[in-house]
Symmetry: C2
Subunit: 339 residues, 2 copies
């Protein structure tokens, strides 16, 4: 790969093309490590609440259908919640049920005063009206922050619950003291769950945010204008070196499950690391960023897995504790809610 | 002004420095004319509703204190409403009253089933908690679109009430068939009332939106990247030629009241047109854009006054009719809600 080697990039030392290891962790934004610290903090907070006689915060997750990825996410969420001392439960609704079944479940959850957090695992199977579902949530227990009232509060700069993935991105940026004020940031992808709230949060931190998307003209040039690039489009390895200004900070939100070498786009198929992983395990998780292409030019970059993913779960736990505090009138400790 | 004359700009023919006239209207985005058309449409809609036996939509405006600009705005709103066949009334609250007085007034309005639109003229005098006021509004009659639920619906791409000024901007862009999809747009100013909702609306139309603000590094270069530039910062004549790419479309949201020559910033003080206006009338309204500097390079530009201002009022009337329809279960005519 002469073009990569020849380029005079600062930041990561490019790993040998024959190496299957990721580059040195010094320039990796280690989401897994930060997520562990947040989960420990949540555990301490839950312990403190319980010492004061309060019940452990309780989270209910609705899982509709049997999408394997959604099943894995929900398992991860409830397991992490339980490990952090929360109560967590999953209500499974078969895909064959009518959409009303889910709405009835949400209505029942609203009636249960012992529930602190309620979330519906997205995406929902075809046939569900996502907006109707989000509108049915109790905005005070909407720990994913997707009810319109919570979306509005976020955009007004007074968030009640920040959606977990963008909250995790901000936590990571803060943990590594990445400067934002005044700096050009590009958020690639305009989803309700990641792109739009991430843009709002970065704007609130005084970054100059461009929200780019599939229709953006000359996308590589737009992305090259960014000191911070948040990529959330759900396309494996889409973002290559040509999108990246030297020294940029890259946050890769993509989690794309690859089941065979044939599913890899050509640029990722040339990665010995990914090929080795698929050959060894029969599958690989890859981000929206072509890590091997981009890392040599980036100052900081998230790995996939181990970047934003674990933070999404950790921030869900934090939001659930926050919901419990808000409902029970317990003040959030000073300095705890920086986003 | 040799630098302006020498510059090889397309778009407007630069008016002679000795002329007090604005450039030819062909390249002006004529908000006043479009506002007239919208007000006529509102009048037709109200007539149709009344022919079906419904009462005329009714708007209540709360005006706190005696700021002359706010008084003028409220007068303009209620007069235009009445002219379009709506019922409109102003509740005046002296600045000396406690903030609770306004909240009590809003609570009473919520109890009145014969009110379709309720708005609080902003900005509020010191001592009021603006968020508490906005949260107290009925989201189904919040015709300014500032209740958090309405803000959230807007950002989720399913607006109930679009804030009037950004709605006016989009109406103007549509009326002149300014292409947006994929194009770089810069919104300068991140207010809740203009900047943020304008950015959300432009993103929904597939523009690539950068939200720039006072902390943005190298603001002129950021603005020069825009095909469409929406300026809403409240600083007279701030935006000069150096911020503008040749052929850009400029929407000036600023309404700055200048009471004497001494109040003019240096760049505007050199404008014979503005000097003549102040000398003749003792005052002038100027935008955030230095029109004389920018117009020669712009393809389209809004004048001030006569640009966005009249549209804000017209869209308020439209929102009030929409509120009446939503509350009474009357379908909005197809193709009517393009924003």
């Amino acid at each position: 790969m002469p073009s990569r080697v020849a380029r005079n990039c600062t930041g990561l030392v490019y790993p040998s093309p024959m190496s299957h290891e990721t580059p040195p962790s010094a320039n990796l934004l280690d989401g897994a490590a930060l997520a562990r610290r947040i989960r420990e903090r949540v555990r301490d907070d839950v312990d403190a609440m319980m010492r004061e006689g309060a019940p452990a915060p309780r989270l209910r997750v609705f899982l509709v259908g049997d999408d394997p990825a959604s099943e894995a996410y929900v398992r991860g969420k409830t397991r992490s919640a339980t490990e952090a001392g929360l109560r967590a439960e999953t209500i499974r609704i078969p895909a064959a049920e009518t959409p009303e079944k889910l709405l009835e479940g949400i209505a029942a959850a609203r009636e249960d005063p012992d529930l602190d957090g309620i979330l519906v695992q997205l995406p929902l199977p075809a046939g569900h009206d996502r907006n109707r579902v989000l509108d049915a949530l109790d905005p005070w227990r909407d720990v994913d922050g997707l009810h319109p009232e919570n979306v509005g509060l976020l955009h007004q700069g007074r968030p009640r619950f920040v959606p977990c993935t963008p909250a995790g991105i901000l936590a990571l940026i803060d943990a590594y003291r990445i400067p934002l004020s005044g700096r050009p940031a590009v958020v690639l992808g305009r989803s309700e769950i990641v792109g739009k709230p991430a843009a709002a949060l970065l704007t609130a931190r005084n970054a100059t945010v461009t929200l780019a998307h599939s229709r953006t003209e000359d996308l590589p040039a737009v992305c090259r204008g960014a000191d911070l690039l948040v990529v959330a489009i759900g396309r494996a390895g889409f973002l290559t070196e040509k999108f990246v200004r030297e020294g940029a900070v890259i946050v890769d939100v993509g989690v794309n499950r690859i089941g065979s070498l044939e599913e890899l786009p050509a640029n990722l198929a040339s990665s010995p690391r990914i090929r080795a992983e698929i050959e060894a395990k029969g599958r690989a998780l890859v981000g929206d960023v072509d890590f091997d292409s981009v890392a040599p030019c980036a100052r900081w970059i998230t790995p996939v897995p181990g970047g934003v993913g674990p933070l999404t779960v950790a921030l869900l736990l934090e939001n659930t504790v926050r919901a419990a505090r808000l409902r029970r009138g317990i003040r959030v400790p000073a300095g705890r809610d920086s986003v």
